[in-house]
């Protein structure tokens, strides 16, 4: 039994019809489910977006390009639907990077036979990808006037990591476990 990441015959960097379609499906899922979020009690503005778990999941299962596409395009569409347009484009890139980094992390992890360990590794890998990918929002310091390192860390990065981290730790292993038998059956 493998970690459930990309099978050996697929390069994580390839762009084929499968990458394009699964990327598009993932972005649509992220956009639709991404409109649902809820506030963490006791905080002022930290909202958990459950759909964020779709980004590292697609990165793990369908590669770097699909992972980036899901995070980037999905977030752009959410912004478009909410009316912000491309104003926060660097947050969309950060979302995309989460998917891309998740793909690279899981491509590097050797097969794990124990199911429980695999779920834990999946959760941790997704969390690390989220922590690394969201670091890109440090660009707010240069692109959003008046954001310094403290603002980036305390108001932007850490709240986003907390909110999205909770979502990926819980939902990515669940999604992965649900897709594992179907992926095997389909030979993916």
């Amino acid at each position: 039994m493998s970690t459930g990441a990309l099978s050996q015959q697929h390069s994580p960097w390839s762009i084929n019809s499968r990458t394009v379609v699964f990327g598009a499906v993932g972005a649509a899922l992220y956009a639709v489910l991404g409109l649902f979020s809820f506030l963490i009690p006791g905080t002022q503005s930290v909202t958990v977006r459950p759909a964020f778990a779709i980004v590292p999941f697609f990165g793990k299962r369908f590669g770097v390009i699909a992972g980036f596409f899901v995070g980037f395009v999905g977030n752009v569409i959410i912004d478009l639907l909410q009316g912000s347009g491309l104003q926060y484009w660097n947050w969309s890139v950060a979302n995309g990077l989460v998917g891309a980094i998740a793909a690279l992390i899981f491509a590097a992890i050797p097969p794990i036979s124990n199911e429980a360990v695999r779920h834990i590794v999946t959760a941790l890998g997704a969390l690390v990808a989220t922590a690394l990918g969201l670091l890109f929002v440090i660009t707010d310091i240069w692109f959003q006037e008046g954001v310094d390192f403290n603002v980036f860390l305390t108001l932007n990065y850490l709240p986003a990591l907390l909110a999205n981290g909770i979502a990926v730790v819980i939902l990515v292993p669940v999604l992965d476990a649900a897709w594992e038998p179907l992926a095997k059956r389909a030979g993916l």
Binding site: A31, G85, L171, V174
Partner: protein
């Protein structure tokens, strides 16, 4: 729940423009307003953004909820960062007008001027971004990105994403209804972990079903030789003289504002 992207500016001045123009203008505007600290310079840019927004012809009643959300979020951001906590502000040399209780942040004309500048920047950026959301026909976005030299396959992916949105939203509705019939209820708990776990019966089937259905699309595209040759698009886009003029106008604005930030007064906070 209507998830379909709304094409609201049909027939307006911007609605008749090449969609590539609507994608390029926010980039140029972002260059123009980046690091402008003088409120007079920002007012000038905001006036341009306002005219651009009016040209989009977006009905107010359709987007007032979007504006309410954006203005609330932006106002909180600026008030908290620039006024209450002083995390993002510019020190002034003038006398303190008043002091914020608890945080002890001293308010000067410089601080207030800078806060207004920041607020205007966010609002005006939204003005030039709204036409991207509401004046580009969803079916034109893929073509526009391909014409902007994005990879043909990825441009088609964007096109495909917009086609999948209505069916994905419908699948979500059906799944929620089906699970409700089985007794599913969304958790009212305040515990975020419990709330997330309660979403499993919705998120997992919607995702897995979408992936299974996607296999058919992959097979259909493979059978038609997707990616084997350079893709052509049915939709023809033409960058007209008016498009060039608008683009040139924003390019001049970006160049002029950059020059004034470096050489002139717009790089410093203006104090009345």
């Amino acid at each position: 729940m209507d998830i379909t992207p709304r094409y609201l500016g049909s027939g307006s001045f911007l609605g008749r423009r090449d969609p590539r123009l609507l994608l390029l203008v926010p980039v140029l505007y972002l260059v123009a307003v980046a690091n402008v600290a003088d409120v007079r310079g920002m007012l000038l840019c905001t006036a341009v953004a306002w005219l651009y927004y009016l040209a989009a012809g977006i009905p107010w009643r359709e987007v007032r909820a979007n504006w309410a959300l954006l203005l609330t979020f932006t106002l909180i951001l600026v008030v908290v960062n620039s006024v209450v906590t002083g995390a993002d502000t510019r020190a002034g040399t003038g006398p303190a007008l008043f002091t914020i209780p608890v945080t002890g942040t001293e308010m000067t004309w410089t601080t207030l001027s800078y806060a207004v500048t920041t607020l205007l920047r966010y609002i005006s950026l939204s003005m030039v971004s709204f036409p991207v959301a509401f004046n580009i026909a969803p079916s034109d976005l893929g073509t526009a990105l391909a014409r902007l030299r994005l990879s043909q396959r990825l441009a088609y992916g964007v096109d495909l994403t917009f086609r999948f949105l209505p069916s994905t939203a419908a699948a979500l509705r059906e799944t929620v209804d089906a699970q409700r019939v089985r007794g599913y209820e969304h958790s009212r708990s305040r515990n975020p972990f419990r709330k997330l776990l309660s979403l499993r019966p919705v998120v997992v089937p919607v995702t897995v079903n979408a992936l299974i259905d996607a296999e058919d699309t992959v097979n259909a595209m493979d059978l038609r030789g997707f990616g084997a040759k350079h893709r052509t698009w049915m939709r023809e886009l033409a960058f007209g003289r008016t498009d060039y003029l608008v683009l040139a106008g924003f390019a001049v604005l970006a160049g002029a504002m950059t020059a004034t930030k470096i050489l002139g007064p717009f790089g410093e906070v203006w104090t009345p």
